[in-house]
Amino acid sequence: MSIFNDLKEAVTRNIGRVMNAGAQYSDARWYEDDSSEMLMLLDGNLEGNDTTVESGLGVRVLYGGAWGFAAISQTADIDTCFDRAMANAISASKLVKVKLDMGKKPGHTGSYTSPFKIDPIDVSLSDKVDFLKSVDDSLTEDWILRRMIRVQMQRMIIHFWSSEGTYTQKKLINTFAHMTAMALDKDKQMQRRSKTLYCETEGTRGWEMLTNPALWSGHADRVKTELKEVLTAPELEYGKRSVILLPGQGHLQVHETIGHPLELDRILGYELSYAGGSFVNLDSFGKLKYGSDKLTASAYGSITNSPGSFGFDAEGTPERDYLLIDKGILVNCLTSRAMISEANQRAGREVFTESGGASRSTAFYRAPIDRMTNVNILPGDDGTLEDIISTTEDGIIVDNPTSWSIGSNREHFHFGCEIAWEVKNGRITRVLRNPSYQGHTVEFYNNLTAVGDESTWVVEQVENCGKGEPNQVMELGHGLPVVKFDNVISGERK
């Protein structure tokens, strides 16, 4: 442990140094190990066999109400890294209209380890390849033109120190997987059907999750059957109808039109030059009728097995379970300490009482920003998928996105999906091809007319949410049931 002790000594000494030089706050994250492995079989060929190992230090200094950040991969230069972060903060502080403030918190210590049985990075390559080949075999048919199996595994060991005396240590494990089968339809258009590895709320997320057939590999036959149906199916006609989202599609709907518009940095205008703004403002909390009474959404949601569950955020704040939308009314959002301090200051009242523990960064070389943890729709009382279908007169059920495009303030959206099942008078009538739907966010959620029960609930994983400048990819989760929306424009106008 001498590397750890040397590093700890240098980091705490430097935190003291910048605080003595007038900093309001400082923290450092040392990624002792950030290992990832990506394997990709394309038409049976292992074209992706890639590992990455990263380690280094990221330092934040808050000085004069402004953030400075610096990162180095050569940990011999820790003093230089703090000097740079401090110099960056000092130069930033010359142009500050609203001074940022972390608020005061007592220091604490803690540690967290993702629930896992088998560290996926440690499994031998031959075992991994054998398993993926077997999944690929189960997807293989003469009429299938393209098969893609892609697995991404992560292991991170992260230490965090702050000027408040907080120290946390995390070991995070993630396993992601996708299978996709593609074939040309009757019009020579490439169609696809896919399945993404999802979580059991309380399961474990190591290699054992990947090899549990119920969560991924066991879906190959269904993927093939449904793809075959799509190939000869008629196109979805343009029109207004009910749209039932299975979790494979619903999670992205929630991600893009509840998760992103409810990131507080975005609401405050700190993402305008890249990702965009939000139709939500500080006056919306407690007032905005975001959706129908059936819409209740939570952050984190006490889901133990998810890439959005991580014990402590990048400011050391423990993860916290709370409601974002309560029976249709917007009540809270995804927050970090400096952002709630600024929001309350701007609003002239206490809009937010405490950080939502949503400060996250993708790597040691990126400064933390407000991110989704798990953003969930809570189960409702409209029964099973079959119950929801039985009460639908004219609609479609859709699954898995092929495309997503959202307005810059998240006020409107357009989604393309892999497959639709037509529903007429309470039953499924046929499969439809090239489904898409669009809407305006608040109007759409106010047309939420059915929310499935616990039996329809799953936790979907997202491994590639993009945000921030410098850009950052983040992994997170969405727990949600089957949901139905009425009067949705779907299909493309001719």
Partner: protein, 453 residues
């Protein structure tokens, strides 16, 4: 990078050669700085100094790759990492084609686009430029933005021969967004360059000042869904032509029958005769790239020649898999200008109604086979009647096909501009396209419109 690191890498390459290992070693060092602006303040000011080493090892029909971001200080440590990747490649699965090792065609040492002043740009320069913009355009508006600058240095060797390639360049990407705090519309200004001084406050101040009166004095216009004549600006053209060519002219996409050109052949007329697109490393509006992924010296290639499907771009592995020759790809997309006036308003003065959409937000592709894309207007979009700007338009969605956009061309500007297409996900990797400043297109499908900007 210092000579010690260079010799460490070449020595490790030699050791691998002696052991008969087929390996490539790529060193990537970035010195990155980014100032982010939010709410008229510097919201983040960052420096990252990162060194990566990428290793690829090929064993017959098997391969493995590894990237190390962190400390590698000795030849032994580097060679041991090569051995580990070699072991990994050995345990990999055989493919039905032979992966190809990069063969560096000639020794390369180039830093034509390197500027020490930009590499070491003091953050206070950025703060002063933003301050000048706020002061001159008006402090009552809400400003945000980002300004990324830095250097990228790469050094590549492979066991195929004794050649090496060293490349160093600087780049910067500037953006400023002006938002009206009550009316909520947004204007944007972009700048790019390779040298300190390429980005100035004046350019952005003038851009904002020229368009502000229209926005200040007119209400927003809601566009009814339907077909419109549309002028796309350079940011929109840059993103669209990139997608059109990536989906349509990448050898991998074509061989896999994934894209909108899957049933087209070289020689077919696929776009309007005024559209010509090249991969051109000689353009001064792009960031240089001396070597292709297969190690060839990059050369100009034509993908679309006066609307005709003229060529596909093959990377080394796609070429091997499909029995084709790798092409000397630079990834430097250039769309040739037309003969239209420099000011688009002049080009549309006899047209009753035109939508001007300079940039498209959040573009995606619901159907690659048909080349259908969708995205929405955002910054500085306006309704133009008879060559006069009438009002700003609310956030409007375009859902259309590449073949329509680059097929129904009515006029193209005679001027081109560099559009910086770099992102900062992962490592620093500057990229830009050279495109006409505007393009007038008939019959563009607007499929939705919000009641806000």
């Amino acid at each position: 990078m210092n000579e010690k690191t260079k010799s460490m890498i070449t020595e490790a390459r030699d050791m691998a050669q002696n052991r008969g290992i087929m390996a490539s070693i790529n060193y990537h060092r970035e010195n990155s700085h980014l100032m982010r602006i939010g709410n008229n303040s510097v919201s983040l000011n960052t420096s990252e100094e990162l060194t990566r080493i990428d290793i690829e090892v090929i064993q017959g029909r098997k391969k493995g790759t590894h990237t190390h971001l962190g400390e590698i200080d000795s030849v032994d440590e580097l060679f041991n990492t090569i051995l580990k990747v070699s072991e990994k490649a050995g345990k990999s699965a055989e493919m039905d084609f032979e992966p190809v090792l990069t063969v560096i065609e000639a020794n390369v040492e180039t830093e034509a686009q390197y500027d020490e002043a930009l590499d070491n740009l003091n953050p206070s320069v950025k703060e002063q430029v933003y301050s000048a913009i706020f002061k001159n355009v008006g402090e009552d508006y809400n400003y945000s933005g980002s300004w990324s600058s830095g250097s990228t240095e790469t050094f590549s060797v492979t066991t195929a021969n004794k050649n090496s390639a060293w490349h160093r360049l600087t780049d910067q990407q500037f953006m400023c967004v002006l938002k009206h705090p009550e009316k909520m519309w947004e204007l944007a200004s972009w700048q790019t360059g390779t040298k300190a001084g390429d980005v100035t406050a004046e350019v952005t101040i003038n851009e904002f000042k020229s368009i502000l009166p229209t926005y200040e004095n007119r209400e927003g216009f809601g566009v009814e869904p339907g077909n419109y004549k549309v002028v796309l600006g350079s940011q929109a053209i840059g993103e669209l032509i990139g997608m059109t060519v990536w989906i349509g002219c990448a050898g991998r996409m074509w061989e896999m029958k994934m894209g909108w050109t899957a049933d087209k052949n070289i020689g077919d007329n696929i776009l309007h005769p005024s559209v010509t697109v090249l991969d051109d490393p000689t353009s001064d509006q792009i960031f240089s790239e001396p070597l292709s992924d297969s190690g060839m010296l990059t050369r100009t290639q034509t993908m679309i020649d006066k609307g005709r499907f003229a060529g596909l771009l093959y990377d080394r592995n796609t070429a091997s898999k499909y029995g084709k020759k790798a092409t000397p790809n630079a990834g430097c997309l250039v769309m040739r200008p037309g003969d239209g006036p420099s000011d688009f308003l002049e080009a549309v003065r006899d047209i009753d109604r035109v939508l001007y959409i300079p940039a498209i937000h959040y573009m995606n592709m619901p159907n690659m086979s048909k080349g259908i894309f969708t995205g929405s207007s955002r910054f500085s979009a306006v309704l133009v009647e008879k060559g006069k700007i009438v009002s700003p338009i609310f956030s409007s969605r375009i859902t259309d096909q590449f073949e329509n956009i680059f097929g129904n061309v009515l006029a193209i500007s005679s001027e081109t501009v560099s559009v910086n297409t770099s992102n900062t996900y992962g490592r620093r990797a500057p990229s830009a396209v050279s495109v006409p400043t505007w393009m007038l297109i008939d019959d563009v499908k607007i499929t939705d419109c919000a009641d806000s900007f």
